[in-house]
């Protein structure tokens, strides 16, 4: 009897552990693209994209927001596409910002 209870508890524990570990390893619905988009937008923001490339930065954020909504509605294909677009837009925003920043610094060294 005791043995049976122990076995039941053990099985319950294993099941719970399995469920928890499954939860822990489940990636975001958008997968790598989701994480990458967040990272790309953060990178763009870090180099001043809100100031230097406001249109591109806003587009990247808008695409990302739409992708998140679509993921909630389980439309992962469309969400994936928007995440890819968001990454490309954020990369462009970052590149523009870096160039703008470098040129602005340069022009300060060469005052007119």
């Amino acid at each position: 009897m005791i043995k049976h209870n122990t076995l039941t508890k053990l099985l319950a524990g294993v099941a719970a552990a399995a469920m928890l570990s499954a939860c822990a390893t489940t990636s975001a619905p958008g997968g790598d693209s989701y994480e990458y988009a967040i990272s790309a937008i953060r990178d763009a923001q870090a180099v001043g994209a809100e100031t230097y490339a406001p249109d591109e930065y806003a587009s990247a954020n808008a695409s990302f927001t739409k992708a998140k909504k679509l993921m909630l509605h389980k439309r992962s294909d469309r969400a994936q596409k928007l995440l890819q677009l968001s990454i490309a837009q954020a990369d462009l925003a970052k590149a523009i910002s870096e160039a703008e920043h470098a040129e602005a610094t340069l022009s300060q060294l060469q005052p007119y």
Binding site: E56, L92, I96, A99, S107, Q110
Partner: protein
């Protein structure tokens, strides 16, 4: 009997099958985004600065463009093709911006006296100029439609050299030089007479002295309407700071056509159907107004002013353009005022106002789709066009 019926059936069905197959073969629909991406890539990848400094980014864009083309060739949904193409275009523009960033950072390092960011090889690759060459009529004649344009541009450049030499001679000795022992009555005729018949490699001789042979550089092919510039975010600059226009005294040095061409290229001016074109984007103006952002525009205006002052025979046409967000009248006014702002800034830098003409076209000449943010950004621009035709 059965065989006959079968044959008839096959014969009657075969046109339908062939029709269906033909239908499949021509099913590939036109996707404007793909064409846009292809044009953008074709244009930007030809820029030696981008090709050299952002090689890896450009390769990524090329791979993405291939994906888009493959999707189109595999009859994928137009939305899918458009999506792939959009990303390809964004990646191409990113490559362009990376090159711009690298060149600016390189200039910054140099200005700060630190080790240059870019190797000499990279810089050399990024500043490849057309090799000077002797004119070979057979080559130009081999290009349909190009011969007349090339000849006209060569003649214009030669005349420009003649004008400048004339000015130099006048500033140095006073007496107007003569060419081939004839005395032209007007300045224009005199300049025209200085253009030798073969136009190219023969020395330009003044009375009593022979000048160094003037080698005319290869002329850029005249851009077709389809190849009109589409980028706007970044036309403004790349290696302009890394390769500042030489501040030489016009009275001491004869600027050759090659130098003029090189200076314009150093400012990232592109071949245009009417000469060489340099674009200043929206970012040089204070949001939606005609107020010039002086700090941002300073370097470009300095370079343009230097070239104009160094070459008094050179003319500049400034054209303003807008997107279609405002009314036509407001757009037109803004485009005119922006062109005038640029002219004023150049005149303040000592350029003769007579060298500069301005015009505004409002929203009537878009170069990109006004329905997209990026397209509108491209359309809000001021074009600086050097017709490469001497005055007078």
């Amino acid at each position: 009997m059965v065989d006959l019926m079968l044959k008839r059936s096959i014969l009657s069905i075969s046109p339908i099958v062939i029709g269906l197959l033909a239908g499949c073969a021509t099913k590939q629909t036109w996707v404007p985004e793909l064409e846009d991406a292809q044009n953008t890539y074709a244009q930007i990848s030809q820029d030696p600065i981008v090709a050299s400094l952002a090689e890896e980014d450009l390769r990524t864009a090329a791979r993405q463009l291939e994906r888009a083309q493959d999707a189109a060739a595999s009859f994928r949904k137009p939305q899918t093709v458009a999506h792939q193409a959009r990303i390809a275009k964004l990646q191409t523009l990113t490559a362009q911006q990376r090159a711009r960033s690298l060149s600016a950072n390189h200039s910054l390092q140099v200005a700060l006296g630190q080790n240059p960011l870019l190797s000499q090889e990279k810089i050399a690759a990024a500043t490849i100029m057309p090799e000077p060459l002797g004119y070979e009529p057979t080559m130009a004649a081999g290009m349909p439609g190009a011969d007349g344009d090339v000849q006209a541009q060569l003649a214009a450049l030669s005349q420009q050299i003649a004008n400048l030499q004339l000015q130099l001679a006048q500033s140095q000795g006073g007496a107007a030089p003569q060419y081939n022992a004839t005395a032209p009555e007007s300045f224009g005729e005199q300049a025209a007479s200085l253009v030798p018949d073969d136009q190219m490699l023969a020395p330009l001789e003044l009375t009593g002295q022979a000048l160094v042979p003037q080698v005319i550089p290869e002329i850029e092919p005249v851009a077709t309407a389809a190849a009109e510039p589409v980028e706007a975010i970044m036309h403004e600059t790349t290696l302009a700071a890394a390769m500042p226009v030489e501040a030489t005294d016009a009275s001491l040095e004869i600027p050759t056509a090659q130098q003029i061409h090189r200076n314009l290229r150093a400012m990232n001016a592109k071949p245009h159907s009417r000469g060489m074109s340099l674009m200043l984007g929206e970012r040089y103006f204070d949001g939606g107004s005609d107020r010039l952002m002086r700090q941002r525009a300073a370097r470009h205006l300095d370079n343009v002013a230097a070239v104009l002052k160094q070459n008094p025979g050179l003319e500049l046409l400034i054209e303003g353009h807008t997107d279609n967000r405002d009314s036509e009248d407001a757009s037109h006014d803004l485009s005119v005022n922006r062109a005038i702002s640029i002219k004023s800034a150049l005149v303040l830098r000592g350029v003769d106002a007579g060298q500069i003409a301005t015009d505004g076209f409002g929203q009537s000449r878009p170069i990109a789709d006004n329905d997209t943010t990026l397209g509108r950004l491209q359309n809000r621009r001021v074009e600086l066009i050097f017709p490469v035709t001497p005055k007078g």
